[in-house]
Subunit: 378 residues, 2 copies
C-alpha cells in the first residue's frame, strides 16, 4: 500500500424520500491508535444478516444501476410503509459487513497489536465491506498457520450462531434441540457440532433431497416438512431426542406452531399425570431468521408452558460474557477447515457486489447460494 | 353436621369414547390428619381457569341433562381430535374448583390447625366444588373479622394473577404494563393495584363503553381496540408509560402482534441510534387467556427483541417461593372488600351448577357474568 492513502468502502443509504442507494465511498486509510491494528480486508461474506443493512426493506425488483467502477451506484425503491420502522437510519450512509478476514498491515506499539502484525486474522464489528478496516486487536482472532482469509471470513456469524443454539439449549435447561431450514450452511455446521458434543438434534428440511443430504453427513433425525407424515415423524423424533427447544430460520407460517404442537404430543406420550393446562415442561421456539416473511400463526393447542421469540447472536454473546465468548471463538478458529467450514458459490469485488445480476442471486437468501466479497480483488 | 358422614363433590369425567360427564359424587367426610383442617365450603367461584377442567374441550351445544338432585348428570360430546391433548385425564373422574372459602369445622391437634377452628378461611388447592374440603392449615388464609366466605371466595386466582402481572413486570425489568380485555373483574383489580403502587398501566378494551367504565375508576390510559385510531392511541399511551410488557387475555388474532408493533414504534420514537435488528429493548406479550381461540398472528415488524408466550399463575408462584407468596396473600386478605373485591351475577348450588341454563351463561366466559357456587346452599 505504499503511496495509497484512500480505500473504498461500501455504503448503504436509505433516503427519507424512500430511495435505497448503494455506493462506494473513498475514505482515508486511518493510522492505528492505541491497541489498534489496520487490516487489509481480503474476504468478507454476504450473510442473510448483512442483507438487512445492505438492502433494507427495498423492493429490489425496482433496482437500477448507474456509473462504473468506483463511481458505480445501485438504487431501488423502499415501500413507504416500511420507512417508520427504519426511521433511525434514514438519510445516513451506513457501512455494511459484519465479519471478514484479512492481513494485519499496520499495528500500534502495544504488545497485543504488534503480535498480530503480518498475521492473517478474522474480524468482527461491522463495516467489513471495505478495502481497509481499523479495529481493536481484541476484535481480531489470529488464524492457525495455513488457514486463508477466505477460509476465515465466515468465522463468526454462522459458527457462533450454531454454537449459540447449543449453548442456549443448555443454559435454558433443555437436553436436545430442533433446527429448521436445516440443510443450510449453518444447519450443516450445527449437525457437526451436535455430533461432536453428543447432543440430540432434530433437523427439519423442506425436501426429501435435503433430508438425504443431512443423513449423508451423519444426521440421525432429518424430517421433511413436505412429507404427508411430517407431524408423526417429527413427534417420533421429539420423543426419541426429548427436544423441547427449536431454532427456526423460517419464521412465517404454521411451522413454529406445528413444532410446539408436536413437542406437546411427545411430552404427553410420556406424561405421568394430567395437567389441566397441558404439559408443565416449557416448550420454546426461537425465530432467528425470516425466510418466510408471512405472519407466524400460533394455534396454541400446547398448554400454557410455551414461548416464541426472536433470537439474535449479539444479545446472546453479551449475556454469556467475554471469557465464554473467547472459549467459543477459539473453538471455531481451530476447526475452520472442518466443523466450521463455509462454502461459497462466487467471489466478487466491491464493484461487482453492486451488480444487479449478483444482487438478484445473493438477495434470494437461498440455501447453498452464498457470496464472498474480496474488497481488494482487482 | 351431627350425624352427617358423606358430602357431595362435583366431578368432571371425559371418557375415551369422547363423552364429557358431569356428576355429583357422594364421598365420605374425612377426619383431619396432622396439621389438617376440615372446611365446610360456603363459596367457590366459577373462573375461566376452572372451565378448562370442568368442561374441557367439550362441544356444549351437544349437552344433555338427566336425573335430578344428587343423581343429576350432564353430558356433552368432546370432538375426537381434541382427545390426544387430554390423554392423561381420560376415563378419570376429576374434582373441580381451584379456590373457595368456608368455615373450619374440625381441626387436628396442631397449634396452627387449632387456631383456625371456627374461623372463616379462604382456600386454594382444587376440588373446591364440594360440600367439605380437607386441607393443610397452611393452604388456608384466615380472613379478617367481618369478611364473609362469599367475599373471600375469589381471593386467589384473580387477585394473585393481577399481582403476578405487576410482579412479573418488575422481575423482568419493565417499568409499566399493558393489559387486554381490561374491563374484566381482573382488569379492574389490576387498575386499583397499579394506582396504589404508582405503576403505569395501558388498558386495552373492546368498546368505548368499557373505556369509559375504566376511566370512571381512575384509569389514565384506556384504549378502545375498535377505534379507527387505535394503533396511534396505543402508541401514544406506550410512549407516555414506557410499557414494554403486556398481559393478554384474548390470545387469538392480531392483537398481540399489534401491541408489539406499537411498542416498537414507541421505542423508535425515542431511539438514539439505529439498530439494524430493530429496537434492542425486549418487548414481551404473555398470553394468559384465550377469549379468542383463533390462531395468534405475529407479523414481526418489531425487530428481534421480542417474545410471546403462555403465562400461568402456578409456575409464577413456584418461581417466587413461599415467603413472597405469603406477602402477596396477606395483601389480598386485607383488601377483599376494596381492591380485591369480586362481583357475581348469581349464586348456585352444586346441583344448579349442572343445569344447562346455567352452563350456557357461565360457559361463555363473558366479562361481568361470573357465577359463585355455594355447595352447602339448600
Amino acid at each position: 500500500m505504499s503511496g495509497t492513502t484512500k480505500g473504498l468502502q461500501l455504503r448503504s443509504l436509505i433516503k427519507k424520500s424512500g430511495e435505497l442507494e448503494l455506493s462506494l465511498a473513498e475514505v482515508p486509510i486511518p493510522e492505528p491508535g492505541p491497541d489498534q491494528v489496520l487490516v487489509k480486508v481480503e474476504a468478507t461474506p454476504i450473510n442473510p444478516s448483512d442483507l438487512g443493512m445492505l438492502l433494507g426493506p427495498a423492493d429490489m425488483s425496482t433496482a437500477k444501476a448507474l456509473g462504473d467502477g468506483a463511481a458505480k451506484q445501485t438504487t431501488a425503491k423502499v415501500p413507504e410503509q416500511a420507512l417508520p420502522f427504519i426511521a433511525a437510519r434514514l438519510d445516513q450512509a451506513m457501512p455494511v459487513g459484519n465479519e471478514g478476514a484479512g492481513t494485519v498491515i499496520k499495528a500500534s506499539s502495544s504488545e497485543a497489536a504488534q503480535a498480530l502484525l503480518g498475521k492473517t486474522v478474522s474480524m468482527i464489528g461491522g463495516a467489513m465491506y471495505a478495502q481497509y478496516r481499523l479495529l481493536k486487536a481484541t476484535d481480531c482472532q489470529p488464524l492457525p498457520a495455513g488457514t486463508t482469509a477466505a477460509e476465515g471470513a465466515s468465522w463468526f456469524v454462522n459458527p457462533l450462531t450454531a454454537l449459540g443454539m447449543t449453548e442456549t439449549m443448555k443454559r435454558e435447561g433443555h437436553k436436545a434441540l430442533v433446527h429448521t431450514a436445516a440443510a443450510s450452511n449453518l444447519g450443516q455446521m450445527l449437525n457437526k457440532i451436535c455430533q461432536e458434543d453428543g447432543i440430540g438434534l432434530v433437523n427439519i428440511v423442506r425436501s426429501a433431497e435435503q433430508a438425504r443430504l443431512l443423513r449423508g453427513i451423519g444426521a440421525k433425525h432429518a424430517v421433511d416438512s413436505t412429507s404427508a407424515t411430517f407431524t408423526e415423524e417429527l413427534t417420533m423424533a421429539l420423543v426419541e431426542t426429548g427436544a423441547t427447544i427449536a431454532f427456526d430460520a423460517i419464521g412465517g407460517g404454521k411451522l413454529a406452531s406445528q413444532i410446539l404442537t408436536c413437542m406437546e404430543m411427545a411430552l404427553n406420550k410420556t406424561a405421568k399425570e394430567y395437567s389441566r393446562y397441558g404439559s408443565t415442561t416449557h416448550k420454546q421456539v426461537y425465530i432467528y431468521g425470516s425466510l418466510n416473511t408471512a405472519p407466524v400463526e400460533l394455534v396454541r393447542n400446547y398448554g400454557m408452558a410455551w414461548g416464541v421469540g426472536g433470537w439474535l447472536l449479539t444479545p446472546f454473546l453479551q449475556k454469556i460474557g467475554r471469557p465464554e465468548q473467547v472459549r467459543l471463538r477459539e473453538r471455531v478458529a481451530k476447526s475452520l477447515k472442518t466443523t466450521f467450514a463455509s462454502h461459497y458459490t462466487k467471489t466478487v469485488s466491491l464493484t461487482e457486489a453492486l451488480d444487479l445480476a449478483n444482487i438478484v442471486v445473493y438477495g434470494k437468501r437461498a440455501t447453498g447460494e452464498k457470496y464472498l466479497i474480496n474488497p481488494n480483488k482487482t
